[in-house]
Symmetry: C3
Subunit: 378 residues, 3 copies
């Protein structure tokens, strides 16, 4: 490389580093345009600082959590239906038993005991059993089915109908639900459990959730949940229903992580519980469940049509934390909007004002022949 070329590059580099360009501007001293323009600029500034940064926290990035839920019911029920006493514990009334995030608490059922195969000689058609069935004249009304299910099977032997007496409703009211929920925000590497600071074994053994007095206690009375989600206890116990328990984790991780606490909300799923039954497309909640057993070497089953409250624990989460990218994106696009403000003012200046020709001359310099004279003056 020749010395001359090297010098050239050094010069260009030093020129580049020791120079700096800044746009030349016209300072327009015009009250009307000035006020309009300053107001627009102040508005943009207020929007960027007040709305984007302070209100919407635009300097933060967001993440939703992956979560794991575990539930445990407690409570014993007691029924006395025409002298036949029965005690119901968790293993009897919770489906499935292992503590899933979605489970059913049985509140009512229609039982068909001792069903067995092979007793119906007329197993050819679908509706042959209608005539000789005692069950059809029974005391319970089945909801209409698209297809008759298990017609003959259901009409074999006995069609006893059992239902919880209203007298035990207050006990069932008092069943408790314990929710354990663990959430992880993968983007921020933060894991939280709903057993937050201060919720220790000692507190849990005594507390009961109350939206105001004990909002963090993870133990809920069934009666409270039903009431808070707007259902009537009598209705839901009879025809069943679905309740969503929303565990809401809205966390600002810029403050201490111990302020990241869950909030519990309850609402009816699939239709407003306050609506009349007629208006809803599908009311109630029930499913069929069979217990199989062997009697006298013949396989039999007890079929239960279980009515109950289906609880869905729904974890809803949104964590926010300072992040340089959204911060600078907000600032950068804010500067762009500032530019828009200037464009708007320029439109006023150059097209609406009476002295617009004067301002046009101030702002623009033309490169074609008739202006080259004046430009050479420069």
């Amino acid at each position: 490389m020749s010395v001359g070329k090297q010098n050239q590059i050094t010069n260009a580099l030093s020129d580049f580093f020791f120079e700096y360009e800044t746009p030349r501007q016209v300072l327009v001293r015009n009250r009307r345009v000035g006020v309009v323009c300053r107001l627009i600029q102040l508005g943009v500034l207020a929007y960027i600082i007040g709305w984007v940064f302070i209100y919407e926290k635009g300097y933060q990035s967001t993440d939703t959590a992956v979560s794991s839920v575990f539930t445990k019911m407690k409570g014993v029920g007691y029924t006395n239906v025409s002298g036949s006493e029965r005690v119901w514990d968790v293993a009897d009334y919770v489906f499935p038993p292992q503590g899933d995030s979605s489970f059913v608490v049985m509140t009512n059922y229609i039982i068909t005991e001792g069903q067995k195969m092979g007793k119906c000689p007329e197993l050819k058609g679908k509706h042959n059993c209608n005539s000789d069935s005692d069950c059809e004249g029974g005391s319970f009304k089945r909801t209409g089915h698209g297809q008759m299910t298990g017609v003959c099977v259901e009409g074999t032997k006995t069609c006893e109908v059992l239902a919880w007496c209203p007298s035990v409703h207050d006990k069932y009211h008092n069943y408790t639900l314990f929710i354990k929920n663990s959430v992880t925000f993968p983007l921020f590497g933060v894991t939280r459990s709903n057993l937050v600071e201060g919720i220790d074994a000692d507190y849990i053994s005594k507390c009961l959730h109350d939206p105001k007095k004990a909002p963090l206690c993870p133990i809920f009375r069934l009666g409270d949940i039903v009431k808070l989600s707007g259902f009537s206890f009598e209705t839901i116990a009879r025809v069943g229903g679905a309740i969503g328990i929303v565990v809401d984790w809205t966390c600002n991780l810029d403050v201490d992580v111990k302020h990241c606490k869950p909030q519990y909300n309850f609402h009816g799923l699939y239709g407003n519980p306050a609506e009349t039954d007629k208006a809803r497309a599908s009311v109630g909640y029930n499913f069929r469940y069979a217990k199989h057993y062997m009697e006298d070497r013949i396989q039999k089953r007890t079929l239960l049509k279980v009515f109950g409250i289906r609880f869905d624990i729904i974890v809803q989460s949104l964590a926010r934390k300072f992040d340089i990218i959204p911060t600078l994106t907000a600032i950068g696009s804010g500067v762009g909007i500032f530019g828009v403000a200037t464009v708007v003012c320029d439109l006023v200046l150059l097209y609406l004002l009476p002295k617009r020709e004067f301002y046009k001359n101030m702002k623009f310099k033309y490169t074609d022949t008739h202006t080259q004279v004046s430009s050479f003056c420069l």
Copy 2:
């Protein structure tokens, strides 16, 4: 504060409010550069308005939903295996019974009845039972296991193999599945159910889902689902399979919320159903299930190897709604890209054109000594 200082501040404030600065610009009258530059600017404008705003709806923010799903199967099956007739209802063929979003419909099974403990004197090794077992000579082929499970247990007493006769396939074809799905978009506070406007109890009692004629009916024929997801009915009934039912909520909440409707799609999970069995790492779907009972005071069990279709209801959701933040971010960064267009044109103007020195002179004013003369002229 002295009057002078007060005046000074008042003046500065009034100066600030009644002034406004706008950049001075050179209006380059050059055909080539003008056309290039205008085309770039028009392209940027078309991109911002057409692509970002209209096509990608960049003025909206997005949210995914939290959801709750409940399912209900209906239908009765009938089998006649070598004279032993049997009727199958929902409680027999759906696992689990309570209507989860993920469930299995049994289509085939291998039964081992009357298993009991303690009958195998040779309970020491793993493979002792191989020789004296009748089951091994049976008519069904078990898929290979990493470990032999319950070898001796399975070979105790009877190894009857039952399978649904092909003659009942068409019935099973006709089973129906009812899906209830409720979604909530927490950011927008919108809750929707798949029982949308017009899908009332009356309609549901009659309708059957059809992708074209009844796309909103939440009742599905099993045969339709299997066909739409590309499986062959014979294969899936024999070896089992997994089908995902995608409920797709893609909603534009800027229009009336009643247009937010679900779409149902069906596809095979875990491998393309059209592939040959060889190519797939793991085909079919089955699990073992035991029914326990007491006979002659001895605890026994009936073991079922259940083959079936596993349905996973997968809720996929994306709601969009106008939001001031993404709108202004898009505008602001669009202005920035406009600036890039100007920079590109400037490069052409100042480095590529023959008259570049002239344009450089027009655009730039220099602050060092040799240009101060001309600047004093201003």
Copy 3:
């Protein structure tokens, strides 16, 4: 339209297309300001290219997946409790049996056999049974309950306590878990299964997951999972526990989709497994489960208090792919931040430098009377 008006429009259009405006700038030849300004600008450039584009991949949009999980346990256990031998297979120790993403492997239990209704004459109060119950003097300690559940029922007949002998722990250790997971990124239309390329039926039949040697094998030894999540095998087998198996899909879809592979992580849920039991609000995992049967025409049940490991398969996903919108948003807002750099330099130039009045004169042109003379010169 008159010819004159047409000409006028044509002229305006040609003016618009053949003209182009570029801001006039002052090229400040000042070493200090130049260096400061160039460093700021280089910093902004380095941030935009290095941080936003290369490190944070700001040119990509992101999506999370909808997923479907299916699990299958394999393994046979054997217990010999005081001469009563028993073999345990999958149908006995997995709840629920159908292969859900959340399931329990029973590791220990307390059994109460032959419970039946109606034997307790003192079914009035809750604690009457305490005195005559043999069970209370038994060898197992029940964890405290808020309410005594099924007191009388549990104390009827026999209260045998069975627990897996420590001698079978090593077998239970060797149970294997097979995970099938399918994820779909709806935004990008990409579906992946954890049985990725190379994981075929042949490989699966032989492999065993190892974080280093076989990170993609979807078959896991139970002992490995427990160890990797930090639990002690003896403790978790006795009191139960909850383990999260995280399947992490972090995918860059700009490269070949076959590089989109899952990663498996294991961690204890609900509290650090290394903590002492005292410190945790709620330890262990158990649920009650009843098997019903008929004996001598009396309905009886066997109640199991099942202790076990609850596994939650948690799918965590984040896919990224090139998208024009975030790319141009990043560029656009980067240009805006460039503008901020210029503003900072201008503040230095116009308010801090000694020659600030000179630079002010260079940069600004005033429109009020005392400067109009010089502007007419232009």
